[in-house]
Amino acid sequence: MSGLFAAAGLPAHAAGQSTVTVKSTRDPVDKSYRKMIRGMERFERERAFAPNASLRFQLLPRLPNVDMRGITLRVAGDTVSVPVPVDDNNFFVLPRNGQALQEDAAVLASRKTASMTWRARIETPGVPAGMRRLGDLRLECRVGKEAGLVSNSSPLFGWISDALDSPEGVCTSPDGNYLFFAEHPIFAVTLRAGERVETLPFSMLYAGGDQTPDMLPFCDCQVLLDRTYYVPLWDASWPDDTLVEFTYMVDPPAGVTP
């Protein structure tokens, strides 16, 4: 409120109001601590997809000019502020804090919220380097949706899509649209389960390949389009141990693990 008076050129006391110190502000795009904890609880409930995996979260670029180095993160409530260490690859583990839960805290990063997007990262030990495991991705979708991590934005339809999509709808339907991001720009994505090997269709790469320049700003794949892929999370004929293999646009130098 004092900010409103300041914006109008009036000191707060001039309008007969007492000064209120605001320790943190909640941007509608900031992540809800309660929701992210619900995502972590879902990870624990549905570990059958990835029994030996661990859960982290990751920050990813959403706008072309965002500096992804040196990001700091904290859980901020009305009275509580908990720093969250972020590693060099922008992965972090969210700590549990009862006070923050009670205060309906936000998870705030040291960047404008619209400049980044967020994902869960679930990794089973022993998966070959440069590959992903389908069960890990199935659980990432459920945790990511439960935690409210996807930062798509549409000024007109955002509230509608939020109302219509749920972890079940997105993660178990052929029409589900949960986007994953590879480590590098991809040329092909191949599924391997025993003797069965299939390359994903073009329509499952690059956010479907239908994004026009005027649509891209509303997709959290905006600057990661060439790393973006869907996988058939819904298709039970592919077991959780299916490996997801990437062929990149630019091959890594010989001897270097992608």
């Binding site: 509608i160 109302a163 040329f187 092909a188 390359t199 390949g209 239908d210 026009t212 389009l225 646009m249």
Partner: protein
């Protein structure tokens, strides 16, 4: 409220359908394999030979183009071409039609 959501979903679906890109130009697989050579063929040559097709252009300058090759029984193989920022084909790949299940 529920009716409003259903209406809005229908509107959104309509928009998505209207904006959907075509699946790609249809070209026999033999012609693609004979014509498109990584490291040599240019974007201009692709356009001249096969016309425009579904493609995605990336901020990096790379482009991915996709063609459909009839494979019988109403199925199509995908032929995907990666074009580098200099406008030369960098890679190609063929995806066999997915087996019906």
């Amino acid at each position: 409220m529920r009716a409003l959501l259903v209406l809005c979903a229908a509107l959104l679906a309509g928009c998505a359908t209207q904006n959907a890109a075509p699946p790609g130009a249809q070209v026999p697989a033999e012609r693609l394999q004979q014509t498109v050579i990584a490291g040599q063929t240019t974007k201009a040559q692709l356009l001249a030979a096969f016309g425009p097709t579904k493609n995605v252009r990336f901020d990096s300058g790379f482009e991915a183009w996709v063609y459909q090759s009839p494979a019988g029984s109403g199925q199509f193989a995908e032929f995907v071409v990666l074009i580098d920022p200099a406008g030369v084909v960098a890679k190609t790949r063929t995806r066999a039609p997915a087996p019906a299940r």
